[in-house]
């Protein structure tokens, strides 16, 4: 029956959360904001493309002076540009509206700015003058070099692919960092979004005086395990919802959203790092959840329990203060401490795992610490829940609870009952 009840608790806790309107308001607000941002990007890209196309086909009159001597009459003719007598004459022509733009190429354009003067057409459209001035000069230089290949190379338009080796094995570079880094993102998402719910999960039974009825039908371990697993499921639902706009955008609208410009390298799924990442995520989540549940079991009200939330949040953000060290010098003392201290271990180890600096032995130790810590905290949470959940109005003395027998309060009846 205990196993049956685990499923019952799990489904009750999961369903009652995901069927609440406020859950979806909170959950959907994030992707909604992302969708709005993407929408704005899409609209912006569309208007940019439209404007660029219009600019491309737009005709405007140009005059120029070229002290460098790079631009030939043929080059200028290609852009329908006419030579001005002097820079002053060119500027005057623009001011009088005789021409739309005047380009003043200096003697050494590689070190001295090309000066561009144009009739004001608005902030965005004015950009066309500089673009055409650049294009004229580039064209002239390419003509001088006489080889498109050499021109491209001289312009630095070179594609380089780097291959690095870890021993004889080819290492993956950024493409191998991103997939295991996802576990870190998920960990942060789960903890930040669900910490409050974790903290309040057992407080609810206490505040609503449901505990005694629950304890006669259910083992505390089953109740708490059910709540923890349900929270994990709820967190995953939230993460999927949060990531859905990104995935949809990436899969179906990459061009519209200019996501191709991100130049994401091919992703490499290293099974070892992915497994280690998953285990650290699960272990870390379990440790934080059971700890928050234990805190909730001690406190009489959600308000008092909330004071501990900040502490737990700080613990997951502290490793980021040393992120440069975590990445560049993973063997430094501070990183080692963060790696093995249970409450900073998930973030530090997930970072190191993503960057490939977490050895298998280290990973094994961290995973063992997290799961052992979670098991200890689960036992503690159960003990505190057993002892503290019928202490309806006062804070439980942890030392007293631990000193007590499995269900035996050692000091004073915890409630007003006779």
């Amino acid at each position: 029956m205990a196993q049956h009840n685990l499923g019952t608790v799990l489904s009750f806790e999961f369903i009652r959360t995901v069927t609440k309107g406020r859950f979806w308001i909170g959950t959907l607000s994030v992707p909604l904001i992302i969708a709005v941002v993407f929408g704005l990007i899409f609209l912006s890209n569309t208007s940019t493309d439209t404007a660029a196309a219009a600019q491309k086909s737009a005709q405007f009159s140009i005059s120029y002076t070229d002290a460098s001597g790079l631009i030939t009459a043929e080059d200028a003719a290609l852009f329908s540009a006419t030579a001005a007598d002097s820079p002053d004459a060119g500027i005057t022509a623009v001011q009088s509206g005789t021409v739309d733009a005047f380009f003043d190429y200096p003697t050494q354009p590689e070190s001295t700015p090309v000066r561009v003067y144009g009739a004001d057409r608005g902030l965005f459209e004015n950009g066309k003058y500089a673009a055409v001035a650049q294009a004229m000069l580039t064209h002239a230089v390419e003509q001088r070099i006489g080889s498109p290949q050499l021109s491209a190379l001289a312009a630095g338009r070179v594609q380089i692919e780097t291959v690095t080796y870890d021993g004889t094995e080819e290492s993956g570079g950024l493409g191998s960092v991103i997939p295991p880094m996802v576990f870190l993102v998920i960990f942060y998402g789960l903890i930040v979004l669900l910490a409050g719910q974790m903290l309040n999960s057992t407080l609810e039974e206490k505040e609503n005086r449901v505990t005694e009825m629950i304890l006669t039908t259910l083992k505390p371990t089953t109740l708490i395990a059910g709540k923890v697993i349900a929270l994990f499921g709820i967190g995953l639902v939230q993460m999927i919802v949060f990531l859905s706009p990104v995935l949809i955008g990436r899969l179906f609208f990459p061009e519209e959203l200019s996501l191709t410009a991100l130049d994401v390298p091919p992703l490499i799924l290293d099974p070892v790092r992915m497994t280690v990442g998953l285990l650290i995520l699960v272990g870390g989540f379990a440790l934080f959840t059971t700890t928050l549940v234990a805190i909730g079991a001690v406190m009489p009200t959600a308000k008092e329990a909330g004071n501990f939330m900040g502490v737990m949040m700080a613990l997951i953000f502290v490793p980021f203060y040393a992120v440069a060290l975590v990445v560049s010098d993973p063997q430094s003392v501070i990183v080692q401490i963060f790696t093995y201290f249970p409450f900073s271990a998930p973030v530090t180890a997930l970072l190191r795992n993503a960057f490939g600096s977490l050895g298998l032995l280290e990973a094994g130790i961290v995973i063992a610490i997290l799961f052992t810590g979670a098991a200890v905290m689960l036992r503690l949470a159960v003990r505190l829940f057993q002892y503290g959940s019928i202490s309806y109005t006062s804070k439980v003395n942890v030392r007293t609870a631990l000193r007590a027998g499995s269900r035996h309060p050692a000091e004073g009846p915890p409630t007003t009952g006779s």
Partner: protein
């Protein structure tokens, strides 16, 4: 009624240096309604919690159906705790279905049973309402429903009428009677002496963590004198080996008979002693009187409308 549904033997419960219950032993037989009585702080709730495994007893045996109670045995237990409540932010039907499932019912069965119960207690239209939108009385009805789900063979009701309005109190009593009729064993922890006299087969009185009295209502009444003579009179009541004056006011007294002397003999003795008797009524000592006698020396806070440490007014004759 031979089988002990509940067996408690040598139970002791310490909280730190304080012993709350000491050497308590009693049985509750299958099918009976058992009254568990005592003043506040006498150890009743502690005993129930230890029986249900919520507390670990310091010593003793506490068995339900011949074994220690474990949550996995709880599917045929109906427990209404003194501190009661349900998930306030959930729908009534979801709460009831959840508890039904925890008690081993299938989802559909639990839901169906809940809907039928809600219809019976005129809450059918509130099934999908969130609990804290219900009135206090309606919430009590839901709580009762959760308690009796899955046809419990043992009902433990800790201060069952506490906080209940008269309508729900009647409903509760009907349900207790129904459950008893259906074969359930009922343990009532209560201060409501009238209900105990009306419903209970046997009782135990707990005082300072020990059993002060234990047995059928008659046995307990007999232990405390059995018969009470209420007299309105003029003149002082003389001492007698046949009775003990348990209450003496200027013109009203209550005498607890200490032997089998006939009431007519007592009346004759009083008249012979010069007492002018205006009314003379014999009655059995009530549990309330026993309660007052047992706990009257303690500074017992009275439960609302249950009992008083003030002298009882004459109720019979005038």
């Amino acid at each position: 009624m031979d089988e002990a549904r509940v067996h408690i033997s040598g139970f002791r419960m310490d909280f730190g240096d304080t012993t709350v219950v000491r050497d308590l032993s009693f049985d509750v037989h299958a099918g009976e309604t058992f009254g568990f009585l005592g003043s506040n702080g006498s150890g009743k709730t502690t005993t129930i919690r230890a029986l249900l495994g919520i507390y670990e007893p310091t010593a003793g045996i506490l068995h339900i159906n011949g074994r220690d109670f474990k949550p996995e045995h709880g599917d045929r237990l109906g427990y209404l705790p003194e501190e009661r409540g349900l998930y306030k932010k959930e729908k009534v039907i979801d709460i009831m279905t959840y508890f039904g499932r925890l008690k081993g019912m299938g989802r559909r069965t639990a839901r169906q049973w809940s809907l039928e119960y809600l219809a019976r207690v005129a809450l059918a239209d509130r099934a999908t309402a969130v609990l804290d939108k219900l009135s206090s009385g309606q919430q009590q009805k839901v709580q009762l429903g959760v308690t009796i789900m899955n046809n419990p063979e043992l009902l433990i009701l800790d201060e069952p009428t506490k906080g209940f309005d008269p309508v729900n109190r009647r409903l509760l009593m009907d349900i207790i009677a129904e459950q008893k009729q259906g074969g359930a064993t009922v343990v009532m922890v209560t201060h409501q002496m009238e209900e105990v006299e009306r419903l209970c087969d046997r009782v135990i009185l707990l005082k300072d963590g020990t059993a002060e009295a234990y047995g059928t209502i008659d046995e307990v009444q007999n232990k405390y004198g059995g018969r009470i003579i209420r007299i309105r009179h003029t003149g002082a009541i003389p001492p007698s080996p046949h009775y003990e004056a348990v209450l003496e006011e200027t013109n009203y007294s209550e005498l607890s008979l200490t032997d089998a002397t006939d009431e007519a003999v007592i009346l004759k003795d009083l008249i012979d002693a010069g007492v002018t008797v205006r009314s003379f009524t014999t009655t059995k000592i009530s549990l309330e009187d026993i309660f007052i006698r047992v706990y009257g020396d303690q500074n017992v806070p009275a439960a609302a409308g249950t009992f008083s440490t003030a002298p009882a007014p004459a109720r019979d004759g005038a």
